[in-house]
């Protein structure tokens, strides 16, 4: 069984997006028991500078197409090129990162190939299905995270899925596969370049959940933007990143980029401190795999306590300053 992984480059750093490496490893674990092959496909101006990493995470071969016209996201051109590459490889499985690039292109590819695409999968596994042999089972939350649906594409190939960054784990050990890259040549039609990029404005992101060991997150229960400062102070003492629930973002307590949950970031730090977060399914979907969860909430019946390891029932405006005080003393 062959699996193709879309190689996505971070437009800023010129390096691989984390999700690509995560998917490479996932694809490797899916098809390796079946003696399958994992092929990374790339279309763009230049390969990511650190593409060699892919071979340490289970990719067997990289097929790349280079064209300076693809410096920025040209959806139509990417559709044509990637479809040609996928047809060339004829894989059973195609995986894309559920990024703003992947979610732009993957539906175009699936529509062109007239096959199924399952968005934002949280689990992927291969199993036998009726008389169809081995197929991909794609688990995804739906209905605002209220249900988990297993989706299959029994009769069409390739079976396509997108996965969000941070959802699939990386292995502790790395593979040591030889670097095998191969250039793909195809005709290019200038008419495929339909968007003119006038300007690129980097977003100065202050948030880095990926490397955060600890996250202090606040919800609607924090009450105000001013009181959210308390969380920032607690985070500062712990060397933690500050996160927020969707409600806190909607109320304007925190910036959108701090949102954790189904429509925000998926995080799994070693310590997650949920302050004034009731713990809706949508929020839990983004944090419940944290190693240790502390919940501080006025409501003893808040659902957040169901996923928490340590809890305090009470007013966070009184509790957090005391926490900060003791942390300073202990630290």
């Amino acid at each position: 069984m062959k699996s193709v992984v879309f190689i996505e480059k971070n437009f800023h750093t010129g390096k691989l997006r984390n999700v690509t490496v995560e998917l490479a490893w996932k694809a490797n674990t899916l098809v390796k028991p079946l003696n399958g092959e994992v092929v990374g496909i790339f279309a763009g101006d230049e390969l990511p500078t650190d593409y060699a990493e892919l071979f340490r995470y289970g990719i067997d071969r990289v097929l790349f197409y280079k064209n300076p016209a693809l410096k920025n996201l040209q959806s139509t051109a990417m559709k044509h090129i990637l479809c040609a590459m996928i047809k060339h490889e004829n894989p059973e499985i195609v995986l894309f990162g559920a990024t703003h690039t992947g979610r732009d292109i993957a539906p175009l590819v699936a529509s062109t190939l007239k096959t199924g695409l399952t968005a934002d999968c949280t689990q992927l596994h291969i199993d036998d299905y009726k008389d169809k042999g081995k197929i991909l089972f794609q688990v995804r939350p739906a209905f605002g995270g209220n249900i988990l649906a297993t989706i299959i594409t029994p009769d069409h190939r390739p079976m396509m899925a997108t996965v969000r960054e941070g959802v699939m784990l990386l292995p502790e050990e790395k593979t040591d596969k030889p670097i095998r890259i191969e250039e793909f040549k195809t005709e290019f039609n200038k008419e495929w370049i339909r968007n003119e990029f006038l300007e690129i404005i980097p977003k100065i992101s202050k948030v880095n959940f990926h490397s955060a060991q600890t996250i202090v997150a606040g919800g609607a229960g924090v009450g105000s933007k001013e009181d959210f400062r308390l969380l920032e102070q607690l985070a500062a003492v712990l060397g933690a990143e500050v996160g927020a629930s969707r409600a806190a973002v909607d109320f304007g307590f925190a910036e959108k980029e701090r949102q954790i949950g189904q429509t925000g970031s998926v995080v799994r730090p070693k310590l997650y401190i949920a302050c004034g977060i009731s713990g809706s399914i949508q929020h839990r979907a983004g944090m419940e795999e944290s190693k240790k969860i502390i919940a501080i909430n006025k409501d003893p019946n808040a659902p957040i306590f169901a996923v928490a390891h340590m809890g305090i029932v009470g007013d966070l405006k009184e509790i957090i300053p005391v926490m900060i005080k003791y942390l300073r003393e202990e630290g």
């Binding site: 437009f11 800023h12 920025n72 996201l73 959806s75 139509t76 703003h100 979610r103 292109i105 539906p107 175009l108 699936a110 529509s111 007239k114 199924g116 695409l117 968005a119 934002d120 939350p141 739906a142 209905f143 605002g144 209220n146 249900i147 988990l148 649906a149 297993t150 989706i151 594409t153 003119e196 990029f197 006038l198 300007e199 690129i200 404005i201 980097p202 977003k203 429509t263 070693k270 310590l271 399914i281 419940e288 190693k291 240790k292 969860i293 502390i294 169901a306 996923v307 928490a308 390891h309 340590m310 809890g311 305090i312 029932v313 009470g314 509790i319 005391v322 926490m323 942390l327 202990e330």
Partner: protein
């Protein structure tokens, strides 16, 4: 004249869902759920109306595929100022995944005279797939810009928009035709207009009127056209459940995983012992 088609979906209010909302075949029993206008589709409609405000010579049509009660979304569109609205409904279209849905929608756009601009919300809150917009663009061989988060300039022949590219904001100029999917930060949807509400309060699809009232409704422009497969004449094999490559294998309700929760008192002593336990762990995990 600039032709704008807005794709709007009626969605279950995902904040209020109970376990029995799923049918045995794994599809959603929409009938028992409170239904709302998909939030980002409202932003798409607002963008269409604001383009009309700017450009002038422009027709805004809203298309929704769904059961008869999805007419509420179309009525709301009329209240906000849409020129025309169409309900696409047919038993054959039920149970469609994004591929089958985008096929029907793209064919409906063709039937209704095509479009210079197609607008839709980035994603619907029931499925969160963000796939139907791009797949409609693919079927119409139309350029697309997804994640449109702001508007710089709109003219009768091109648009300059801001796209949320995760690590960067991209300022993109695109000539029509183009399909754009928008996020909630693109604008603030306007309120319904009172006189339009009065005019269209009883607007509905033809079958909702008795024979004697139908003529009156037609005269006063209160008929919302219904498009079925008798109009679109699409191959059954490409519509609805049949035309959907993806199948729902099973559905699980999410249950809370009860952990080993330890409560601490909210007075100084409790907090102190919480901090001690954190620090103990901290040393372990950091090592």
């Amino acid at each position: 004249m600039l032709k704008i088609k807005v794709l709007a979906k009626q969605v279950p209010d995902t904040a209020n869902i109970t376990g029995n909302a799923m049918k045995d075949d794994g599809t959603v029993n929409r009938a028992i759920l409170p239904a709302v206008f998909n939030p980002e589709d409202l932003n798409a409609l607002e963008l269409a109306l604001s383009i009309k405000d700017t450009v002038g010579d422009c027709e805004v049509s809203v298309i929704s595929m769904g059961p008869a009660k999805a007419v509420d979304v179309l009525k709301h569109s009329l209240f906000m100022g849409a020129d025309k609205v169409y309900l696409i409904s047919d038993r054959k279209y039920a149970g469609a995944d994004t591929l089958a849905t985008s096929f029907v929608l793209s064919e409906a756009i063709k039937l209704l005279g095509g479009a210079d601009i197609v607008l839709a919300g980035r994603q619907a809150i029931d499925g969160d797939t963000a796939q139907v917009g791009p797949q409609v663009a693919e079927k119409l061989d139309m350029n697309q810009i997804t994640y449109v988060s702001g508007i710089r300039e709109i003219t009768g022949s091109y648009a300059i928009v801001e796209r949320d590219g995760e690590y960067q904001t991209e300022i993109i100029k695109a000539h029509y035709p183009v399909l754009m999917t928008v996020t909630s930060s693109v604008n603030m949807p306007r309120y319904p207009n009172a006189s339009k509400m009065l005019r269209h309060f009883k607007s509905d699809i033809p079958s909702a009127f008795t024979a004697e009232k139908l003529e009156d409704a037609q005269k006063s422009g209160r008929i919302i056209p219904l498009i079925t497969n008798d109009d679109l004449k699409l191959d059954d094999e490409r519509c609805g459940l049949k035309g959907s490559p993806t199948k729902v294998h099973n559905i699980k309700s999410i249950t809370l995983t009860g952990g080993d929760l330890k409560f601490y008192g909210n007075e100084n002593e409790g907090i102190k012992s919480l901090i001690r336990d954190i620090m103990k762990d901290y040393v372990e995990v950091e090592s």
